[in-house]
C-alpha cells in the first residue's frame, strides 16, 4: 500500500518506486538463494511488479489480501518491512513468521497481509471469508485475493468466487496471468484462456487489464473496490503479465526466449519510468536517487537479516496452539528421553 493514489503525481512516483523496490528485493533474493543463504522453495515475482503495486495501491489499512507461492511482491507492495522478509527467507527469528513459514508463508497480519500460500488456489476461499467479516462489520473495507492463472482450474477458486458472488461479499479476485503454471503454458491446460469470460458465468463484473501497466491495473482494481464498497459484491480482474525467472529458483524449466523478449520489451518499470520522465513528472536524476535509496535500504535490510539469530530450536514446539500443547510435550519428552 502506498500512501497516495495513482491519480496524483506523487502517487505515480511512489508506485514506480514501489515497483523498483519489488524488483530489487527479488534480485537480492535470487542471489541469496544462489549463495545458499536461503533454504527451501523460492518463487520470484520479477516481471509482475505492476500487478502487485497497481492493485495494492487501491487498498487502505483495514483491507486484506491473500497471496500465493509467488508472494514476495505482494508483501513488499503491502509495505512489509523488507528486513523482516529477508529474515524470514533466511530462516531467522526476526522473520515475520519467526522462521516457521519461509518464502511460501510470509504474512503480516497487522499490514492486512493474510499470508503467502503454498497450495495453489487456497488463498481465494480465505479472502472470501475475510469478506464475510468485512460485510458483517460494515467497515468499508475489502479483501483481495491474488492468484495465478494456473489456479483458475482449481476447484477451490471456483468455489470461492461462487460463494463471494452468492453472498455479495466485498472481495476482488485478481488473476495474475503470466501464462505459465510451472512449465505448462496456459494454452496446454485451458481451452479458453480469456479468463474474464468467467465473470458472466458467476454473474459478476470481470475485466482484463494490461498487467505491465501499473495505472491500468490500479484503475480496474479501484473500480472493483468501489463496487464492492457500494454493496455490489465481488469482481474479477485479470492482469496479463509475465515472469522473467524460472518457476522457482534453481529449477531447470526455462521459458521460451522469444516470449521472454516480447515481455521484457514491455517491462512495467522501464515503460512507466519513461512515461513519467516524458510527462515531466520525474527526471532521470530523481529516478537514480530513488534507485540509490532503495539499493541502500535493501542492502541494509539484507545485512540486518543476515546478522539476526536463527530461532531457538525449542521454538519449533510453540505456536501449534494458543495454549500449551500436552501431546506435543509428551511426544517430545519421549523422543528425547535417554532412559525409560
Amino acid at each position: 500500500m502506498i500512501d497516495s493514489p495513482l491519480e496524483t503525481e506523487d502517487g505515480r512516483v511512489a508506485a514506480l518506486e514501489s515497483m523498483v523496490k519489488l524488483r530489487r528485493f527479488e534480485e537480492r533474493t535470487s542471489n541469496l538463494f544462489a549463495d545458499g543463504e536461503i533454504p527451501g522453495f523460492v518463487h520470484l515475482y520479477i516481471g509482475q511488479e505492476a500487478v502487485a503495486v497497481g492493485a495494492t495501491s487501491t487498498l487502505d489499512s483495514n483491507d486484506h489480501i491473500t497471496s500465493t507461492h509467488r508472494g514476495h511482491g505482494h508483501c513488499v507492495a503491502m509495505g512489509l518491512d523488507p528486513s523482516r522478509m529477508f529474515a524470514e527467507l533466511m530462516a531467522k527469528d526476526d522473520g515475520f513468521c519467526r522462521g516457521k513459514g519461509g518464502s511460501m508463508h510470509i504474512a503480516d497480519v497487522n499490514a492486512g497481509m493474510l499470508g503467502a500460500n503454498g497450495v495453489v488456489g487456497s488463498g481465494a476461499p480465505i479472502a472470501t471469508g475475510a469478506g464475510v467479516t468485512k460485510k458483517l462489520a460494515g467497515d468499508d473495507s475489502v479483501a483481495l485475493a491474488f492468484y495465478g492463472e494456473g489456479a483458475v482450474s482449481e476447484g477451490q477458486v471456483h468455489e470461492a468466487i461462487t460463494l463471494g458472488a452468492a453472498w455479495d461479499l466485498p472481495v476482488i479476485y485478481l488473476v495474475e496471468k503470466n501464462n505459465y503454471a510451472e512449465g505448462m503454458p496456459a494454452e496446454r491446460i485451458f481451452r479458453n484462456t480469456d479468463f474474464e469470460d468467467f465473470g458472466d458465468a458467476y454473474g459478476i463484473p470481470a475485466e482484463t487489464v494490461d498487467g505491465m501497466d501499473v495505472v491500468d491495473v490500479y484503475e480496474a482494481v479501484s473500480d472493483a473496490k468501489q463496487r464492492a464498497l457500494e454493496g455490489e459484491g465481488p469482481s474479477i480482474v485479470v492482469a496479463e503479465t509475465f515472469r522473467y525467472n524460472p518457476h522457482s529458483e534453481g529449477l531447470d524449466m526455462p521459458l521460451p526466449e522469444e516470449e521472454l523478449e516480447y515481455w521484457k520489451d514491455r517491462d512495467a518499470i522501464e515503460t512507466f519510468k519513461d512515461e513519467l520522465i516524458e510527462q515531466g513528472e520525474l527526471t532521470a536524476e530523481q529516478f537514480e536517487e530513488i534507485e540509490d535509496r532503495i539499493e541502500a535500504e535493501l542492502d541494509e535490510a539484507v545485512e540486518r537479516a543476515r546478522n539476526g539469530e536463527p530461532p531457538e530450536p525449542e521454538q519449533a514446539y510453540e505456536d501449534v496452539f494458543t495454549e500449551p500443547a500436552p501431546d506435543i510435550e509428551y511426544h517430545r519428552a519421549n523422543l528425547g528421553r535417554d532412559q525409560l
Partner: protein
C-alpha cells in the same frame, strides 16, 4: 464430570448442541454459523433448528455446495475476527473440504509464527447404522486427530456435547466437532447453567470399576455403560470417555489401567491405523508394566460401510464385540 452441577434438565444430544449454539450466538456477536441448509430451509439433522429465525440470515447462513470454499471462508473469517461454526453435514464430505482443513485451518497459526488465531469450529456427523452406505457413514476423527494443529472432540453424552461445543466455540484454536449419528437421540441430564462448559482435553470417568478399563467413544459410551451394568457382579468395568481425542488425556486412561491391568478400546473407526491404536500405544508408553493382558480393540474391521442391514450389522462393531473383548481378558 468434575464440575459441581446445580441444575440439570434431560435433553437429547441433538438438543444439547442446538442449545450450545444458541447460547453462544447470544453471548457473542462474533459467532456465526454457515453450511448447506443450516438456515432458512432447515438443517437435515435439525441441529440448527430455530437459529435462523432468531439470529437472521447474516449470522446463520446458507451456503452453496462448495465445501472447500466455505470451510476456507471459515478460516478467513476466523483469521479476521469472527468465530464461525461451519457445518459440513456428513463427515464423509471431509473429502471435498480437506485442503482447507489439512493445510490452512490447522496450520495457519503455526506457519505464521503465532501472528493470528483461527477460532473456527468445523462440525459434522459421523458413523454408520442408517444403511446409508460407504459415502455417508464414515468416521473421520482418526484422520483429523492425526492432522496436527487442531483439537478434535467426539462427545459421548449430551452433557459432554453441550459443554464441549461451548468450549470449542470459545477456543482460540481450530476445533473439529464430530457427532455420531446414533447418539443424536440419546437423552441424559445436562446442566442448564449457561456458564457450564467442558474443558477440551479432559477425559471423563463415566463409571468406576476395578477389573477392566473400557475406553469408549461416541455411541460406545452408552453401549459400555449399559454393558457394564449388565456385567456387574461378574466383571467390574470402568468406562472412560476421552471426549477429546486431541488433546488426548492419556493420564486418566493410564491411571485406570494401572488399577485394572486390562484395557479395551471401543471406537467406530476402521481398526487399522485407527484411534484405538493410539490409545493402546499411549498405554504401552505410560503403563506397560501394569498391563496383565493384551489390550483389545473393538472397531470397524476395515471394510467400507455397506448399505444392506444384514451386511452393515455384520461389520458394525457393537455391544457383542465389546462384550467378547471384555470377557476375553477379564
Amino acid at each position: 464430570m468434575s464440575q459441581t452441577i446445580t441444575q440439570t434438565e434431560t435433553i437429547s444430544l441433538r438438543e444439547a448442541i442446538n442449545q450450545a449454539l444458541r447460547e453462544e450466538l447470544e453471548r457473542d456477536d462474533d459467532v456465526v454459523i454457515w453450511g448447506e441448509d443450516v438456515g432458512e430451509s432447515g438443517h437435515v439433522s435439525n441441529i440448527t433448528e430455530g437459529l435462523y429465525d432468531d439470529f437472521g440470515a447474516e449470522r446463520v447462513r446458507d451456503a452453496p455446495l462448495a465445501e472447500n470454499g466455505f470451510v476456507g471462508a471459515g478460516v478467513g473469517a476466523a483469521a479476521t475476527g469472527l468465530r464461525p461454526v461451519v457445518d459440513i453435514m456428513y463427515a464423509d464430505f471431509f473429502g471435498v473440504a480437506c485442503e482447507q482443513m489439512l493445510n490452512q485451518m490447522t496450520k495457519m497459526h503455526y506457519m505464521f509464527g503465532g501472528q493470528l488465531t483461527v477460532p473456527l469450529v468445523v462440525r459434522a456427523s459421523e458413523g454408520a447404522g442408517l444403511s446409508a452406505a460407504a459415502q455417508h457413514s464414515k468416521t473421520t476423527h482418526t484422520f483429523l486427530s492425526h492432522m496436527t494443529g487442531s483439537k478434535v472432540v467426539t462427545p459421548g453424552t449430551p452433557a459432554a456435547a453441550k459443554g464441549l461445543m461451548k468450549s470449542a466455540i470459545r477456543s482460540d484454536d481450530p476445533v473439529f466437532f464430530l457427532e455420531n449419528k446414533r447418539t443424536y437421540t440419546m437423552k441424559d441430564e445436562v446442566p442448564t447453567d449457561e456458564d457450564f462448559t467442558v474443558p477440551i482435553g479432559e477425559a471423563s470417568v463415566e463409571r468406576a470399576g476395578e477389573d477392566v478399563t473400557v475406553v469408549a467413544t461416541q455411541a460406545f459410551v452408552g453401549d459400555s455403560l449399559e454393558l457394564a451394568e449388565q456385567l456387574e457382579g461378574d466383571v467390574s468395568v470402568e468406562v472412560i470417555d476421552p471426549r477429546s481425542l486431541y488433546p488426548l488425556d492419556h493420564e486418566t486412561i493410564a491411571e485406570s489401567v494401572k488399577k485394572t491391568g486390562r484395557l479395551v478400546v471401543a471406537d467406530e473407526s476402521p481398526l487399522s491405523y485407527g484411534t484405538h491404536a493410539e490409545i493402546i500405544s499411549r498405554v504401552n508408553e505410560t503403563a506397560f508394566y501394569y498391563l496383565d493382558k493384551p489390550p483389545q480393540r473393538v472397531g470397524w474391521p476395515d471394510t467400507p460401510v455397506p448399505s444392506a442391514p444384514t451386511l452393515e450389522n455384520e461389520v458394525m462393531p457393537g455391544r457383542d464385540e465389546l462384550q467378547r473383548a471384555i470377557e476375553r481378558i477379564a
